[in-house]
């Protein structure tokens, strides 16, 4: 016998309603593959590409936000809708609350917040330019690390940060996805 999916959904929703969930996750199908999204009480804490093992992703979330991690499609509707609207081209702002609890340093947090606030869809910056914007013009390499360890790619748009020397550079989800996202936003001529 298999547990009915509807029952699992019902239990997860009840858990969220009663404040018993530290985090809620769901998998969202997108043109660049199924994305695992995890939201905490204050916003999206994690977005992972399918190459990352989901178990490890969820364990890390549990270690930070708490072990009461549940799966629910209904309770992740806001972020799933925002991601849907992004790929449909209806609304590319991905304007959902984000919680950078999984970011390990204030410098990285500031870099990611600045990136999210200042570099909108269709725009790009170089690592060096982003470093300069947070008043650390020599910290381009550290910006690269901040982007490489970004727990919420796509929503914090590290795909819009490019090497000064040209090309798209590296990306957590692979350079192909970075190119696809930039092309989708009209920021890259292919």
């Amino acid at each position: 016998m298999t547990l009915p999916a509807a029952l699992l959904e019902k239990i997860a929703s009840a858990a969220v309603r009663e404040g018993l969930a530290d985090a809620v996750y769901a998998t969202v199908p997108t043109p660049i593959g199924p994305l695992l999204v995890v939201t905490g009480k204050r916003g999206v804490v994690r977005l992972a590409f399918p190459e990352e093992p989901a178990a490890a992703v969820l364990e890390r979330v549990a270690a930070t936000l708490g072990p009461r991690v549940v799966a629910s499609t209904a309770e992740t509707a806001a972020v799933r809708d925002a991601i849907g609207a992004y790929f449909e081209g209806d609304d590319e702002t991905l304007d959902v609350p984000v919680d950078l609890a999984l970011v390990r340093s204030d410098f990285r947090r500031e870099a990611l917040l600045t990136l999210r606030t200042e570099v909108g869809p269709g725009h790009v910056v170089t690592y060096g330019e982003l470093a300069a914007r947070i008043g650390r013009p020599k910290a381009a390499r550290a910006i690269g690390t901040a982007c490489a360890t970004n727990p919420v790619p796509l929503i914090v748009p590290c795909h819009r940060v490019l090497p000064g020397a040209g090309g798209v550079g590296s990306y957590g989800g692979g350079p192909e996805r970075k190119r696809a996202l930039l092309a989708h936003e009209g920021a890259l001529l292919v």
Partner: protein, 157 residues
């Protein structure tokens, strides 16, 4: 932080949810099984962060499910007998053991022993048979008779 981190709760649900539903069905019948499982998992979620270690989590979930099913029987019985609200379920995991003991206390000793081996120690029927010095068939029979007694007659108060 826990020494051994507790796994994300839903990993447990995915690993053991099916068998817990089967278990709930055995204890509470088809009509109530899903309600019992929902109630049990919410109870488990309430207690989960307070667990002091990440061992025997499957056995713990069985215990919570058993207690939830037995509480339901007891609540039903009280609704019929005495118009008073059912006792609030204990939340701390160690209290589940007390609740479980209280619930099986009215049964004859051999039945209690069989249920404890099955639901507290989480033994399979071969293991129970070894402990009770009987055959696995007899062990299964003893457990299912004890469960049926609770299920058919509720808990004597």
């Amino acid at each position: 932080m826990h020494v051994t981190a507790l796994p994300p709760f839903w990993t447990l649900v995915q690993a053991h949810g099916d068998e817990l539903l089967v278990h709930a069905r055995r204890l509470a019948g088809d009509a109530q099984a899903e309600d019992v499982l929902q109630d049990a998992l919410l109870r488990a979620l309430r207690a989960y962060p307070q667990l002091r270690h990440a061992e025997h989590l499957r056995a713990w979930l069985y215990r919570v499910t058993t207690t939830t099913a037995l509480d339901l029987h007891r609540a039903r019985r009280r609704e019929v007998l005495v118009p008073e609200p059912p006792a609030q379920a204990a939340e701390a995991p160690e209290l589940y053991d007390d609740a479980f003991e209280a619930l099986i206390a009215p049964l004859p000793d051999p039945a209690q022993a069989a249920l404890r081996l099955r639901f507290v120690d989480d033994l399979d029927y071969d293991g129970i048979a070894r402990r009770l010095g009987c055959s696995a068939v007899a062990a299964r029979q003893r457990v299912s008779t004890a469960v049926r007694t609770l299920r058919t007659h509720g808990i004597p108060t």
